[in-house]
């Protein structure tokens, strides 16, 4: 579809990890019994008033600063008015024309190329409660009734909206990974898609590249993982392209991603357009940060993923790709630096992490923090391989075992007998055996067929079940045969 351009914009909602909710002192905590993290304010009781959480505002400004957004000298909360039973006041305190942050950008890397995605806005609002649709068929439209839990109602929620400058599902994926990493580095959110603390809606349209006109924008909801964002966008781009080619009219609409079927489906169209009747929230004062406040937050900003990757390239001399793989995620970068801090060579550490460790994690479907493998393991493996105590192949075995059991590296080497035989007298005995048992190849080598040495080393390794140091074995074999 090279003659079509895909235009994607992402709207991400990030729940902040504050101690309390946005406008009241109820705990901001996942997984409590229904309607226990509530108070008169977040239940929307008559007469209650919101009081803004300073920490949440600091967090939002940090996100904006990290994205290079402009911090508004004056920003306002607005009321967004619409009825829905998960919203106790039937309006959401949100932001409208004066958000905390506007503009900015996020750099992403796809296929070795860096692309700068413009940001539209960063604003702060309150989350809604949770609705359980009691439905025998599992379909919301066929539900008999619904239940409301307001534990989540009022949790601080930051909306990060990109410009429609993302050009492919792959870029959307890279954008989400980068944004997630940035938020994690800032320590402002758990950023867990599966717990709903990081959510994403996508806007997508396609248009023939030559035509100046814009495509018809479709919004996709119910995207519960980065993978589903990518899949849904790929599906939707293809659907829209096919429609344009077939000269079918596309409608501006909201579609629902069906993860199981792998398709987007139109949501029941509304009876009439939305009219949120925004107006300035009269119960709250404007936010007017001065230079001192902004400078303090800037000073508190941690190293962000982009800077960290750059440092890994410059200081640890990693390849850019390796730097991206170990330097983007906060947890991975921390792990990497810990291993390096234990004295291991950075490039070797990165290789182990990107290669074997990644494969093991993927297979076991666990995250690095959940894994039993600790930085100490990797550092020990790197050291033992380097000093020749174990072979690279042995190192892989040790890692797999450490991954499974969490046992110390030395213990595993010991138990599995993986230490290489470098002791000359021990090795010489085996060399003699190999020569005695392979008269043919020995003859060939002596006749000048250099390549046969590999076969002989292999035979020796087999006899020692891999425990021999192959370099040492080859040296001894050559000595003996030329002697």
């Amino acid at each position: 579809m090279s003659d079509y351009e895909t235009v994607i914009g992402l709207e991400c909602h990030v729940e902040l990890s504050t101690r309390t909710k946005m406008f009241c002192g109820s705990p901001n905590e996942f997984g409590a019994e229904p309607n226990t993290n509530v108070c008169p304010v977040c239940l929307g009781h008559p007469g209650t008033l919101p009081a803004a959480n300073r920490q949440a505002i600091d967090h939002t400004m940090k996100i904006a600063l990290a994205l290079d957004s402009q911090i508004a000298p004056r920003s306002l909360f607005h009321r967004k008015n619409y009825f829905y039973p998960d919203m106790p006041k039937n309006y959401q305190i949100s932001q409208y024309d004066l958000p905390i942050g506007t503009g900015g950008h996020l750099d992403i890397e796809v296929d070795g190329e860096t692309r700068r995605i413009g940001m539209n806005r960063v604003h702060l609002e309150e989350d809604t409660g949770k609705t359980f649709h009691a439905s025998a068929t599992g379909r919301i439209a066929e539900a008999e009734y619904a239940l409301e839990d307001y534990n989540r109602a009022g949790v601080p929620l930051v909306e990060v909206v990109s410009e429609p400058e993302i050009r492919s599902p792959e870029e959307a994926r890279a954008y989400l990974i980068e944004l997630k990493a940035l938020l994690e580095s800032l320590g402002v959110s758990d950023v867990r898609m599966e717990e709903g603390s990081f959510r994403c809606d996508a806007n997508i349209s396609v248009r023939p590249i030559e035509s100046g006109e814009l495509g018809v924008k479709v919004e996709i909801k119910n995207l519960n993982s980065i993978r589903s964002v990518e899949r849904a966008l790929r599906y939707e781009a293809e659907r829209q392209r096919a429609a344009v080619e077939a000269r079918e009219a596309l409608v501006q609409e909201t579609r629902h991603w069906d993860e199981g079927k792998g398709v987007t489906l139109p949501l029941r169209s509304k009876e009439y357009a939305f009219d949120y009747r925004y107006f300035p929230e009269p119960d709250l004062a404007p936010i007017e940060p001065d230079a001192e406040w902004i400078e303090r937050l800037k000073a508190e900003l941690p190293e962000l993923p982009a800077a960290r990757r750059q440092r890994f390239v410059l200081v640890h001399e990693l390849e850019p790709t390796a730097a991206r793989l170990v330097g983007t995620d906060k947890e991975w970068a921390g792990f990497f630096e810990e291993v390096v801090g234990l004295g291991a060579d950075p490039r070797t550490v990165a290789n182990w992490m990107v290669g074997d460790l990644t494969a093991l994690l993927r297979e076991a479907k666990v995250s690095l923090s959940e894994a039993t493998v600790k930085p100490r393991h990797i550092a020990d493996i790197v050291r033992l391989v380097e000093d020749g105590t174990i072979s690279t192949a042995g190192g892989k075995q040790v890692l797999a075992e450490a991954f499974a059991s969490g046992k110390a590296v030395e213990a595993i080497v010991e138990a599995k007998g993986l230490a290489q035989i470098s002791d000359e007298s021990a090795l010489l005995a085996v060399v003699e055996e190999v020569i005695a048992e392979n008269p043919g190849p020995v003859e060939q080598f002596r006749a000048g067929k250099e390549g046969v040495i590999g076969f002989l080393v292999g035979a020796l390794m087999k006899k020692t079940r891999g425990a021999a140091n192959p370099q040492e074995a080859q040296r001894l074999l050559r000595e003996r045969l030329s002697g």
């Binding site: 002192g25 109820s26 009734y145 004062a285």
Partner: protein
């Protein structure tokens, strides 16, 4: 400027079930009130800043400190209907 109000649309936005009689009465009364209210346009010039608050203030925050919550029973005490610790409502047909 005579004001025509789509009473049904507004009532739907406001989630108010009106009787036919109310609909007619409001249509007439709202027109009169709005025509009176339109006088604000006579004086509100371009260069006048709107005031949303009589006493100007800014940066009013609370610290991120937990406060006592209601128990589940207290939270549900006024609920017309509840089930499994949650507020029960009839099915939600409109996706919003």
């Amino acid at each position: 400027m005579p004001v025509e109000i789509d009473v049904d649309h507004v009532a739907r936005l406001a989630r108010l079930a009106l009787t036919d009689e109310e609909r007619e009465r409001f249509r007439a009364q709202l027109r009169v009130i709005l025509e009176h209210a339109e006088r604000v346009r006579e004086v509100a010039a371009e260069d006048v800043q709107p005031t949303s608050h009589p006493i100007p203030m800014q940066n009013v925050f609370r610290e991120d400190e937990p406060e006592p919550t209601l128990s589940q029973d207290e939270a549900l005490a006024g609920a017309p209907e509840a089930e499994k610790g949650q507020f029960k409502v009839p099915r939600i047909v409109e996706m919003e």
